[in-house]
Point group: C2
Chain length 146, copies 2
């Protein structure tokens, strides 16, 4: 853990630090990335987890439109740029050791590329895995293939 986050452990509620100091202290992994959990701000549903680099985080904070880093494409991924299913940022928080982000978002339509609201639909139950939800939208329609 960096000294910055260690010092924050004992900080009073509602005390503040400059944003730049905190961004500089984030513990990005060896690829320069941090996991970001997206949660629908009012329902509390966890929608997805993706990755951010510093550039995508700064863009997200500046624009309030969530931008991830696509590991498969190796470039910035402005959520919804091809599907239209954007995420508007309501708030963002780092965890105690500065290596995970939690985003409160307003999700337009499904968050998942399969057309489901949430990506977490493979439920592990006893000796089986169960598909817990159906697509809201045909993914072919989301990505303009129909």
């Amino acid at each position: 853990m960096t000294d910055t986050f260690k010092r924050l452990e004992g900080a009073e509620r509602d005390s503040r630090r400059p944003l730049g100091e905190i961004l500089d202290a984030i513990r990005f992994n060896d690829d320069g990335l941090i996991p970001a959990i997206a949660q629908q701000h009012d329902s509390g549903e966890v929608l997805m987890m993706a990755w951010m680099n510093r550039e995508s985080l700064e863009e997200t904070l500046a624009t309030s439109q969530v931008c991830y880093w696509s590991r498969s494409r190796g470039k910035l991924w402005r959520k919804g740029e091809s599907s239209g299913q954007q995420q508007r940022l309501k708030s963002a928080a780092l965890d105690c050791d500065g290596d995970t982000l939690l985003l409160q978002v307003e999700q337009t339509g499904p968050a998942c590329h399969t057309g489901r609201r949430s990506c977490f639909y493979v439920v592990l139950e006893g000796e089986q895995a169960r598909i817990a939800s159906a697509p809201l939208i045909d993914p072919a329609a989301l990505y303009g293939q129909s």
Copy 2:
């Protein structure tokens, strides 16, 4: 993405697969780990994110007591073993590409080692970061140092 998760994208709601097939298809990272998000099952609060290897996931599913893999200590981390702040598993789900877990849990007391309920207390607001919550319990008391 593995073929297994690709095939599940089109699966009907409530269709089922054997658990072992799904566990074998999980996309653990190069260190054999998968991120696991813990959410309080009734309030929806996201409490923390930690890592699991296959052994800790199987133990968690078998016992319904959440067990992570501690990267800093290099061993199984039965949540609450030193602090008493256990997590009882209510349900577990994988995401669409099989590389992240979402755990619904019943958290005893604070989830965070600082004594706060949730680890996500460093809120990024405008040009500042704000400490959004105070400890429920002195961490020295949690870990028997007082």
